[in-house]
């Protein structure tokens, strides 16, 4: 139960980060969404044995976290916890791919280990970018940006409704689960039967809530469109932000920056 409450608090904390007032928070969300997409596509377009060229991509989340005054430790811990599938599947790479690719002194490094490390690094980069985007922009603003970039209005409305009732219903579910847990002793009472009727009641209550909401919305003159604030505009700062990051991503995609840097240093100090 503690973990559920923890998850809920975690969700709220990420949501509240978007209320910050830094320069990055004030940018038009479309610029941030597009820059994040360019970043993710650049990262995943590398070959599977690429490791060193991925490292400089850490600049993107690091700069955004620092300039956006986000809690770095919290985001890093969140990144470290996620993506079980990627790591679980990647873990098998060293077993299937045993061709030796590099030597580090007497140690032979197989392709499997390199590609596993690459998968872990990619996970950290892509997940970190997605979380940073959420923390800098906030969910409603991301929906707004996507709608203005061409997402269908019905889907945007669905996302906004979901977001508004997410916290309400999750708390209701947590309360119901806690009540059941307090009433079940040892291992009796938390089986499928009580689960199904708990979930069923939650479903029916949800349905009734939706009907009440619909009536309330009609009473307030709902016309099929949620009013949103379309006041932000895509100006020069947004264009500069987008161009800067896209250019950096493309450049880092085409050049292996760490290797160039290393050559510079080792070349000058033989």
């Amino acid at each position: 139960m503690a973990s559920i409450n923890q998850a809920l608090l975690d969700l709220k904390r990420l949501d509240q980060l978007a209320a910050g007032g830094t320069v990055l928070h004030r940018l038009d969300p479309r610029a941030k969404v597009l820059a994040t997409l360019v970043f993710i596509v650049s990262v995943v377009s590398f070959g599977r044995y690429e490791l060193s060229a991925l490292i400089p991509f850490l600049f993107f989340p690091a700069c955004l976290i620092a300039l956006g005054e986000l809690p770095a430790g919290y985001l890093v811990a969140k990144v470290a916890l996620v993506c079980p599938l990627a790591v679980a599947v990647g873990m098998f790479n060293p077993f299937f791919d045993r061709s030796v690719m590099a030597h580090l002194g007497p140690l032979d490094i197989t392709g499997g280990w390199i590609s596993f490390a690459s998968i872990v690094l990619r996970t950290a980069l892509t997940v970190g970018a997605a979380l940073t985007l959420t923390a800098l922009t906030g969910f409603p603003a991301i929906c707004n940006a996507l709608e203005r970039l061409g997402m269908p209005r019905a889907f945007a409305m669905q996302l906004l409704f979901l977001y508004r009732y997410l916290f309400v219903l999750t708390e209701e579910g947590v309360r119901a689960a806690r009540a059941r847990e307090l009433r079940s002793f040892g291992k009796t009472g938390d089986g499928l039967n009580s689960y199904a009727s708990l979930l069923g009641h939650l479903l029916l209550r949800t349905w009734q809530r939706a009907e009440r909401m619909h009536m309330a919305m009609l009473a307030r003159g709902f016309s099929g469109v949620l009013p949103g604030r379309d006041c932000s505009r895509f100006g020069a700062p947004e264009l500069a932000f987008l161009l800067l990051w896209s250019a950096l991503c493309v450049m880092l995609r085409l050049n292996n920056a760490p290797r160039l840097l290393g050559a510079l240093v080792t070349g000058q100090l033989p």
Partner: protein, 350 residues
């Protein structure tokens, strides 16, 4: 079950995203045409319900582990396919942004695996075809169970296909399949049991809710099936066509093998796009063809090619390692400085 960005290639991710985005556009247009504005709040709250339901667990008898609901099929039974698809897609989007389940590129795959397959493949072809109008207990149990298991199996199969087609993981196709399908057989059985239990609860408490989705006229069903077939065909063609297109060029794999192994240059990479990129790289590189002995004059007595390759490889490896460390250091110090700088500018105001 959630696909991850790190396992996807841009070609596969983009192709599946195109299919999912097409699905979202079509469903949105369809719901708009139906113009039942009761549907909007209902879908939103049911999406939130799925979240709430996933926070509650139950104990699976005999195993000690716990399970919970995924809900694609349940929503299709309650809302009908288009609304269920949009609801699942929205839930997955929130998961991608807040919990970073998967990622933004993999979101397309996840919407396809967990939303499209249950709503547009399994629900019309299995569930609605066999459930009938007034099902008995046995029929309800077997049909819902079968549909859940098939949905999970197809979803897991799609994950395997997407992973193998991307080629980031080196899992062989057959072994990955043998690993994934049995696990998802168990998950599908649990999901089926929960779906049966909740649906029969609703059937007892408010049977009229279930009639809405089942009682869609047969004409709509036919058009839906044809559209579903269309989307499947498009996805197969796009994925197949694009990936064969992509693999005609010397792709990331061979290219990076050569890089990591330290072979100086690949012969085949001297044409087309790669030649262009290589030319750009040579211009922008400070030390083209670097290695430890590159500073020596080239009139050295010729050594055996293997030895030369080895020296070049170790040179490349060392400079790569040093550069990596330096870059990491730069990243962290940049982050630290930026943070410090922004604090310093904020502090006087406060």
């Amino acid at each position: 079950m959630h696909m991850a960005d790190a396992l996807l290639s841009p070609t596969v991710g983009g192709a599946v995203w195109a299919v999912s985005a097409g699905g979202i556009a079509w469903c949105s247009a369809r719901l708009r045409r139906e113009s039942d504005d009761r549907q909007a709040p209902l879908m939103g709250v049911l999406g939130a319900f799925l979240f709430a339901a996933q926070m509650v667990n139950f104990t699976i008898p005999g195993t000690g582990s716990s399970g919970h609901l995924a809900g694609g099929l349940l929503l299709a039974i309650l809302l009908g396919p288009p609304a269920a698809f949009l609801t699942v897609a929205s839930v997955l989007m929130v998961q991608a942004l807040f919990f970073a389940d998967g990622g933004l590129l993999a979101l397309g795959c996840n919407i396809f695996n967990l939303g499209f397959i249950p709503a547009f493949v399994v629900f019309p072809l299995v569930y609605r075809r066999f459930i009938g109008h007034a099902p008995g207990r046995f029929r309800q149990l077997t049909v819902t169970m079968t549909a859940s298991v098939i949905a999970m199996q197809l979803g897991a199969f799609a994950v395997v296909l997407e992973t193998v087609a991307s080629g980031v993981s080196s899992f062989p196709f057959s072994r990955f399949l043998l690993l994934m399908q049995p696990i998802h057989l168990a998950i599908g059985l649990v999901e089926g049991a929960v779906t049966v239990a909740v649906v029969s609860f609703v059937r007892k408490a408010r049977p009229e809710l279930l009639q809405q989705a089942i009682g869609v006229p047969a004409v709509a069903e036919r058009s839906r099936a044809s559209i579903c077939a269309f989307f499947l065909a498009v996805s197969v063609i796009t994925a197949g066509g694009l990936s064969s297109l992509a693999s005609e060029q010397p792709d990331g794999l061979e290219w990076s093998v050569a890089k990591v192994a330290g072979a100086a240059e690949l012969e085949g990479a001297r044409q087309g796009v790669h030649a262009l990129l290589a030319a750009m790289q040579e211009k922008s590189a400070w030390f083209p063809d670097y290695s430890f002995d590159s500073a020596k004059p080239p009139v050295d007595p010729p050594r055996s090619p293997a030895a030369a390759g080895g020296a070049a490889a170790s040179g490349t490896a060392v400079s790569g390692l040093v550069g990596t460390m330096l870059t990491l250091f730069l990243v962290f110090s940049a982050g630290w400085l930026l943070k410090k700088g922004s604090r310093a500018t904020v502090a006087p105001e406060g």
